[in-house]
Structure formats: structure tokens, C-alpha cells
Symmetry: C2
């Protein structure tokens, strides 16, 4: 995607950021490639949470090839903060960490069961071996008596 | 903790936020309870990422009992963004989700092994039963011949 994505060529209609900030959308507007006019909510969220000048500054400090990812992560973070003004993204992190704890516990239980069953299998096969020997000895005894 | 936590009583030394913003720290300063003067880095991070006026607005919109958690999550988020300007907190979320995927795979493997071993155990105990019967039949056969 180039810098003009989301903008009407020729007419130079303002991007969502410039529209919200009521300013002229310059040809080299730093927001325009990432905040097209038809997705006004994306900029509204980052503007509310980070502030337009901070978003501008953060984008300017990054090389162009990293800006799209930075915008995506900022939009994600801003939406999370709008949905949950107390915990924002950190709420998601906390819930993922709980899920990890629960999975680690389940995994430990399953792995312990595998070890337990292997030991039982080993013990049982040793016993079967002993039983086989015992059966063979019985048979030998019988054949001795039958002689 | 009350509103005066982190402030020198009497002298009314400014909180970390008012010190950075070079403004008078009022008795009812919204930042003072959460940004004590001896932890200047906390406010510096949220100021850099969210902007002082956004942090102020977000705190004002929350009831007092939720503000400490909101500040903690904002500081966490801001530090993550300072460390990783492209992905911030979302980088942590993505890595936790990868960890969850890996744990879910390991769990599925362990649980499948448990099921497999149970089936083998069941089959083996059925075979042992059949073998016992066979041994008994053999013995019966022998005793018939020996008659």
C-alpha cells in the first residue's frame, strides 16, 4: 500500500485524522496512509486514548515500514482502553496469563498420569513375566509327574 | 492510601506529574495520589505515551476506587510502548497467545497418550484374561489326556 491508500486521487479528500482534527490534509500527511476517511473510528480511538500529537510523534519516530504495525497495535490498545477504561489491554494480558496457568496445571496433571500409567504398565508386564515363569514351572512339574 | 500519599505534608512539594508539567500542585491534584515525587519515571512514561491531559481526563472519568488500578495499567502499557514502540503491550499479548497455542498442543498430545495407554491397558488386560482361559483350557486338555 502506498501513502495515498484510502484517499481519493485528485480531490485529495482529507484522511480520517485530518477530518477529525479539522485541518488540511497535506500530500505528505503522516496519518493518511493508515487512517483512511472511510474508517473514522480507528483514528477516533487512538486520538481519544493517545492524543493526535503523540500518535504523530510516535509515527514520525518510526521508519515507514514499521508504521502500519504500530498503527494496528495502537488501534488495538486504544479500543481495549475504550472498552475497559480501568485495565485496557492489561486486562487481556492478565486473562491470558490465567489461561496459561490453568493450561500448565492441566498439562502437569496429564503428564503425571502418563508417567503413572507407564510405571503401572512396567510393573504389570514384570508381574506377567513372573506369572509366565510360574505357569511354565507348573507345566514342568506336571510333565515330571506324568512321566 | 489517601490523596496525600507520596507528598510531604506541610511543605506541599509537587507530585511527579506537576513537577514535570511545571505547574502548582493543588491540594486536590488528581495525579498526586498516584504519581509521588520520588517515582518520576511513572509519570514520565504515561505522559510520553498518553499525554498528561488524556491521563487527567481518563482519571477524572473514573470513580476514585478504580483510579489506582487504572494508573497501574496505564504505567504498564506506557512502559511496554516505550520499550517496544511498534507493538507495545500487543507484543506481549501476541507472545502469550503463542504460548497458549503451544501449551494447548502439548496438552492435546499428553491427553491423547493417556487415552492411548488406557486403551492398550484395557486390551492387554482382556488378552491376559483370554490367555488365562487358554492356559486353563490347556491344563484341562492335559488332564483329559492323562486320564
Amino acid at each position: 500500500m502506498n501513502k495515498e491508500s484510502g484517499r481519493k486521487h485528485g480531490a485529495l479528500s482529507p484522511c480520517a485524522a485530518c477530518k477529525l482534527l479539522r485541518r488540511r490534509c497535506a500530500q505528505d500527511c503522516v496519518f493518511a496512509p493508515y487512517f483512511p476517511a472511510d474508517e473514522p473510528q480507528k483514528f477516533a480511538s487512538v486520538h481519544k486514548v493517545f492524543g493526535a500529537s503523540n500518535v504523530n510523534k510516535m509515527l514520525q519516530e518510526l521508519p515507514e515500514h514499521q508504521r502500519r504495525d504500530a498503527v494496528s497495535s495502537m488501534v488495538y490498545e486504544a479500543n481495549a482502553r475504550v472498552r475497559d477504561p480501568v485495565y485496557g489491554c492489561v486486562g487481556a494480558i492478565s486473562s491470558l496469563q490465567q489461561q496459561i496457568n490453568s493450561l500448565q496445571t492441566q498439562l502437569a496433571v496429564a503428564q503425571a498420569e502418563v508417567v503413572h500409567m507407564r510405571m503401572r504398565e512396567f510393573t504389570s508386564s514384570s508381574n506377567t513375566g513372573a506369572m509366565d515363569m510360574a505357569v511354565n514351572q507348573d507345566n514342568m512339574g506336571e510333565s515330571l509327574w506324568s512321566c
